[in-house]
């Protein structure tokens, strides 16, 4: 049956990378465009690639390339391809959900002969944008990342011809056009094959037009030619290819002999200096340095000789499989493809769940996000992302970063965007609102991109910092709003009465009104919001979903040891040092506790926030300094650790005997769950959502806020009863396993997302029909 849509042959060239290849094939199950076949060209492999591929049966066409030569391998795939379009993707890359859909849409333009999308190096250690509408000269000078076609339109350089180029990781060609120019030059064993073909196509009058979208995520894996994320590799192969490229294309483009010779020398000299630099940095041994420099010069000579005298090794235009159309290709996707859970592209693992319906594509917002920042909203978002991934869904997180990059972390694609203060100048005098609106607009633009590339279906935003406000106002997608602590609540606690705080509060009200679905994290939170913003009951459009954490393994929990001989106790506080967290109440309670129990050590972990809550302004001191000055005799038993990382925090939870957090207000109190996770009893306040987390008298004790005497009594009563310490700790752990795991949270959110999508589609039939 002919569909009238172009058919695509996805060609993957691989050697000894069975893990990443499996991940790629798994990801291809989710392509939104179904009319494609998959051809895998396997080089002289030594691992179980062929065995793995046999699992796919006739869904994947497996071909063999006798040598480790990328150009040749690509040509073998090209000759066997039957699709109208041939799309090349590296075996260590993962395409965005709409990769092929966008490529197919581009090729509707009959003038287009080749294209390629952006490539993000998405590895968690070193994320960066690797390629986006790049250009290259006939002398191999290249600019890989440009923000638009207008940028560096004619850059300075020796090469006389500049053409658009694609990166081999992500490129697609009209098969007929590629065959007309003879496919790939088989001289190129590794790199420059992509640029060379772009130059030859352009010289032949074909249109090469790379685009910003049709994104592919690259997770570099080690190969025969290089060890990923190290400086060990056969870099001389690059030199050989670059020199050959310069001579072949420089001569064809009419560059002078002088310019070509200068460029070749420049390339070799550049590599020579680079190796020296690596040796000085200690990244190469002296022996490696000598060997690499020698190999480089030899490779340059070979490249130059063959470039000057060897004819190109191309395929003859008449060859190749002539079958075209849907009936000619074996479609890769099956009926089960839609319900396949998403895969972790770094580890290659995928959740062992069977999905009754296709997994969701969710975009979570959190400006602060691990591993860089571990504060409340970021931590909650991270846990939600992990939970959703483990339920089989695809998760994207938009977080703030210094530059635009994408990484894969804890089950989610984390897209970092920089804050550009380039809009809403009229609000400059309201700093909070000005920053929030600009960031929210940046988020909206990223959401649009993710809609285009990843087909995200729903956006989930915290109320804090109004991150999803512009997206909600735009109405492009359903926005689920996580109701957590609001600015207006903080302003009320801290006594902020300025216009900025007022406007932030007002915009929170607008955000709540414009969102599709509300998810308060506790009943108290919902009631507080009703009171604060006069929310009208939204029947069927809100669901209370408590936070959840990842339960630590049983061997990691540390309940109170009843056999313990020592009588020294450790009380832990985790949270920012600020008024809302009740730090002053704790300071006042410490002397009262010390009067009754002598050997108590208080550990206070969290960054000082005295500037923002006005304490520094009032006293001229930060919180630790204030404590030292106000309670000098208790300094020895209180340890201020400042902000700590996850590893340290884990250790603190394990080693403490009692956890205390006397917050004046907590929308939920995630820290209590974290302590309960390690079987620790907790002491908190009857404030906000805390009573919904801590069962008074079961998993801990609750006192009234701002009551140091009651707080001290609660701490003392527990410290004096080791049995209670043990029993309450274990009860807390049990409660957590029953009600507060990240999987339970994710399942509730899944329910919310599906409902939100349904409501949104019902509200905007026009938009949904356009989709």
């Amino acid at each position: 049956m002919s569909t009238g849509r172009p058919t695509i042959s996805v060609i993957i060239n691989t050697i000894d990378r069975v893990g990443p290849l499996r991940t790629l094939l798994q990801a291809l199950e989710h392509q939104s465009y179904p009319f494609f076949e998959v051809i895998v060209v396997v080089g002289p492999t030594r691992d179980n690639t062929l065995e793995m591929l046999s699992e796919y049966g006739d869904r994947v066409r497996v071909l063999r390339c006798p040598t480790a030569n990328l150009g040749r391998s690509r040509n073998i795939g090209l000759l066997a391809a039957r699709g109208d379009i041939v799309a090349f993707i590296d075996d260590d890359a993962v395409p965005s959900c709409r990769w092929l859909e966008q490529i197919a849409r581009l090729f509707v333009n009959e003038n287009l002969d080749a294209t390629g999308g952006a490539v993000y190096l998405a590895h968690p250690n070193n994320p960066t944008t690797q390629h986006r509408i790049g250009i290259i000269s006939s002398l191999a000078e290249q600019i890989d990342v440009r923000s638009s076609w207008l940028e560096h339109l004619v850059p300075p350089g020796d090469g006389s011809v500049w053409v658009a180029r694609m990166m081999g990781t992500n490129m697609a060609f009209r098969r007929r056009s590629l065959m007309e120019v003879g496919g790939f030059d088989e001289f190129f064993e590794w790199v420059y094959d992509d640029s060379d073909v772009a130059l030859r196509l352009t010289s032949a009058g074909k249109i090469v037009h790379p685009v910003k979208e049709a994104v592919v995520y690259h997770f570099p894996a080690s190969s025969r030619n290089r060890v990923a994320f190290t400086y060990t590799g056969k870099w001389w192969l690059q030199t050989k290819s670059a020199v050959y490229f310069c001579i072949k294309n420089g001569l064809a483009a009419g560059d002078t002999y002088r310019a070509i010779a200068r460029r070749v020398l420049h390339l070799v000299h550049g590599h020579w200096l680079w190796y020296g630099h690596l040796w000085r940095e200690g990244k190469l041994s002296f022996l490696q340095l000598v060997r690499m420099r020698f190999a480089d010069i030899c490779a340059a000579i070979v490249g130059a000789f063959l470039g000057a005298f060897l004819p190109r090794q191309l395929i003859s235009p008449g060859s190749g499989d002539e079958g075209e159309g849907t009936q000619a290709i074996q479609l890769f996707q099956t009926n089960n493809s839609a319900n396949t859970p998403s895969v972790d592209p770094v580890d290659g693992v995928f959740p062992l769940v069977s999905l009754p319906s296709p997994p969701l594509r969710v975009c979570l917002l959190s400006s602060a996000y691990p591993p860089d920042q571990f504060e409340g909203v970021g931590r909650h978002t991270n846990l939600l992302a992990r939970g959703l991934f483990e339920c089989g869904h695809t998760v994207h997180v938009i977080a703030q970063g210094e530059r635009e990059q994408t990484a894969f972390y804890d089950g989610a694609y984390v897209h970092r965007i920089p804050l550009h203060l380039d809009r809403y100048f009229q609000y400059q005098k309201f700093s909070g609102l000005y920053y929030a609106l600009n960031y929210s607009h940046g988020v909206y633009e990223k959401v649009r991109r993710l809609m285009l590339n990843e087909g995200i279906q729903v956006v989930d935003s915290p109320l804090w910092q109004l991150e999803g406000l512009v997206t909600a106002v735009s109405g492009i997608l359903p926005v689920v709003l996580r109701l957590q602590t609001a600015h207006r609540q903080i302003a009320n606690i801290q006594g902020d009465r300025d216009e900025d705080a007022y406007l932030m509060g007002e915009m929170e009200r607008v955000f709540i009104e414009r969102s599709t679905y509300l998810v308060p994290n506790s009943r108290a939170m919902f009631e507080a919001m009703e009171k604060l913003y006069g929310l009208t009951p939204r029947e069927g459009r809100y669901l209370i979903v408590p936070h959840g954490v990842v339960p630590v393994p049983e061997e990691d929990i540390r309940p109170f040891d009843l056999q313990r001989k020592t009588d020294t106790f450790t009380v832990l506080y985790v949270g920012r040092l600020e008024k809302r967290k009740g730090i002053m109440t704790l300071f006042q309670a410490i002397p009262l506790v010390m009067q009754k129990v002598q050997n108590v050590k208080f550990i206070i972990a969290g960054g000082d926030n005295s500037i923002h809550d006005g304490f520094r302004h009032q006293t001229g001191m930060d919180y630790p300094s204030y404590f030292v000055k106000r309670y000098p005799s208790f300094v020895s038993c209180v340890h201020f650790l400042g902000a700590v990382d996850e590893e340290v925090l884990r250790g603190l939870y394990q080693t403490c005997d009692l956890f205390v957090a006397p917050s004046l207000y907590e929308s939920f109190g995630l820290v209590f769950l974290e302590a309960m996770n390690y079987a620790k009893p907790v002491v908190g306040c009857h404030a906000g959502g805390v009573p919904e987390v801590v069962a008074h008298g079961v998993s801990g004790l609750l006192v009234e806020p701002e009551d140091p005497a009651a707080l001290a009594d609660a701490i003392v009563s527990l410290l004096k009863s080791p049995t209670k310490l043990y029993e309450m700790g274990m009860a807390g752990r049990q409660l957590l396993l029953e009600k507060f795991t990240h999987i339970q949270m994710a399942r509730h959110f899944e329910q919310v997302y599906r409902a939100a999508i349904q409501i949104w589609h019902a509200q905007s039939p026009d938009i949904s029909s356009e989709e």
């Binding site: 638009s148 076609w149 207008l150 809009r423 809403y424 009229q426 609000y427 609102l433 609106l437 607009h441 909206y444 633009e445 649009r448 406000l469 512009v470 106002v473 735009s474 009465r497 300025d498 216009e499 007022y502 406007l503 007002e506 915009m507 009200r509 607008v510 026009d766 029909s769 356009e770």
Partner: protein
């Protein structure tokens, strides 16, 4: 303290930014943005010059106004194209969901056929560009339209009048020399705008025709559906 600004003000600003963003998201929008940046830079450079009271500033300022107007025209054209695109998508969607059993007939009186369940749809007047419109745009872009002629009022003062007149002519010529140089540069910019406008106008016209054709198809389909339904009803009775 309650400020003068309200949440509604902020929301309308957000909506304005969203509209602006929608225009600048395509390649044409980016081209406009880059021309704007270039123009702003030039404007900044010129206005920072020492002789701010020079007459040329006034002329230059007017030229910039013209540019702004051209940009607005461009933006409106882009917005129109976008709305047409949406209309086109909707029409395509409707035609896709209908039974593909029609035979295309050119748009005639059948356009007015309305089903009982279908509200009467007001026909949008077609935006037809005549060759005169195209010529008008081309003429506006000609270099001559920017050339400034000398205009010196002669003084009738005895003795020194002739000298003053001569001096005035020299001064005016000097200013005009630079103004015309600027105008020559400006012509290139204007011609670029003009090209864009012409291309956009062609595109708009083409899309209008496409939409009209598709609408005609839909109406034909509706009519045939009606006929089929009534035939079925009759047979059922």
């Amino acid at each position: 303290m309650r400020p003068h600004l309200t949440a509604e003000d902020v929301v309308s600003d957000i909506e304005f930014e969203l509209i602006q963003g929608a225009i600048s998201q395509d390649e044409l929008g980016q081209a406009i943005a880059s021309v704007r940046r270039y123009q702003n830079k030039m404007r900044g450079d010129l206005f920072q010059q020492k002789h701010r009271r020079d007459k040329s500033i006034e002329i230059t300022a007017r030229q910039f106004q013209i540019n702004d107007m051209l940009l607005t025209i461009l933006q409106e054209t882009v917005a129109e194209i976008q709305s047409l695109r949406l209309e086109f998508l909707r029409t395509a969607h409707l035609s896709k969901s209908a039974k593909p059993t029609y035979k295309y007939e050119p748009p005639v009186e059948k356009l007015d056929v309305v089903t009982p369940t279908q509200p009467v749809r007001k026909k949008q007047p077609l935006c037809v560009y005549t060759p005169e419109d195209f010529r008008k745009v081309e003429n506006r872009m000609r270099p001559e339209s920017l050339q400034v002629e000398i205009s010196v009022r002669a003084t009738k003062m005895p003795f020194v009048g002739a000298v003053l007149n001569r001096l005035r002519v020299i001064m005016h010529n000097l200013v005009l020399f630079y103004i015309n140089r600027l105008a020559t540069n400006q012509v290139v910019v204007n011609q670029t705008y003009g090209d864009y406008i012409l291309r956009l106008m062609h595109q708009v016209q083409y899309q209008q025709e496409q939409i009209a054709m598709l609408q005609a198809q839909i109406e034909t389909l509706r009519a045939s559906l009606l006929t089929e339904e009534s035939a079925t009803d009759r047979s059922l009775r």
